[in-house]
Symmetry: C2
Subunit: 197 residues, 2 copies
């Protein structure tokens, strides 16, 4: 579980003077959460953007029947926020919870906008990040539309082998949109099939 500072995230992706950068990023934007803590509760307003420097977050909703649905996991180097709150001042539909002791760097919309104005390179980079995020979401939608439980699981293993080891299995099931018992069954089936070969 490495650590990944936000400043490092920036300097390793865009050309920018360390000093210029430091004027944007103050130490007090860093915050620590313990395993089990909530960064955001559904119903809250959430106008911050969280960059995970260390640890692991999950963003999830709870439906009327009380079931949880994982929208995303966020390990080191990932950004999480609630767009509904950030751009429409609406209460969030999603909880954000720390699955491990987690350090986040907290950004607000104004800082992002300021960075974009002052550093055109950042604007381009941020754009790519957003587009990349969209790409991921689209691929996930495509998977949810077309793939069986087994296919979804296999894709997950390939894409996020690290996360697989850091979260309980039922959360993976929740991310995949299947029941935990079903995932158990899929795994059993895969195991016996591999054994036979």
């Amino acid at each position: 579980m490495q650590e990944y500072r936000f400043s490092e995230f920036l300097t390793s992706n865009i050309e920018v003077d360390e000093k210029v950068l430091s004027q944007f990023l103050s130490q007090n934007q860093r915050k620590t959460f313990n395993k089990g803590d909530f960064l955001v509760f559904a119903g809250d307003l959430c106008e911050s953007i969280f960059f995970v420097e260390k640890g692991l977050l999950r963003q999830y909703s709870i439906d009327e029947k009380g079931k949880e649905h994982v929208l995303q996991f966020a390990p080191e180097g990932w950004l999480v926020n609630d767009r509904e709150s950030l751009y429409y001042n609406k209460p969030s539909k999603y909880n954000i919870e720390a699955l491990e002791n987690t350090e986040v760097f907290i950004l607000d919309k104004k800082i992002i906008e300021k960075l974009e104005e002052e550093l055109p390179e950042f604007a381009t980079f941020n754009n790519e990040l957003l587009n990349n995020h969209i790409r991921h979401l689209q691929n996930r939608i495509n998977l949810l539309l077309s793939a069986t439980a087994e296919e979804r699981y296999l894709t997950f293993i390939k894409m996020y082998p690290d996360i697989l080891l850091r979260v309980p299995q039922w959360m993976v099931a929740s991310y995949l949109g299947i029941a935990p018992e079903s995932l158990s069954r899929v795994r059993k089936e895969l195991a016996t099939r591999n054994f036979k070969k």
Copy 2:
């Protein structure tokens, strides 16, 4: 079926001088497609961004079993492109097809970047667009994870009543991730239920 020019899209969302704008946007970026035409075939490289000025597009994949899955519909005022191609120079997984006679305004990455550099307001606006798109995709994922066929359909009706009338029902089913026959069943069920009340 109204018409929505890209220039109008910009001027109605950001403060910008018409003349400044016109230097970016030339007439030859406009293109017309007939119903049934393909703008992009899966496997193609697609480095353009399409803004729909008139008409209707759909972006969809075809899985190994030959089934189509609609990633999105794009009526007037919507942007479509393939991020996989645009940012990673990879062949597209998705087809883009004109469902009606359609006029699109074609942008490439460079124009977007230039607009962002020259017009900070555009950068902010574009950012909001991308974030809004992410928000939509997240909500759709959440729906796919948690909702039954009926709930998905009801949500679709509320969100896209216009599109409902412009595309065949089986495409809606494909967008919702259910079989056309299932959608038929859902509709019947809804009809009899409303009748009983």
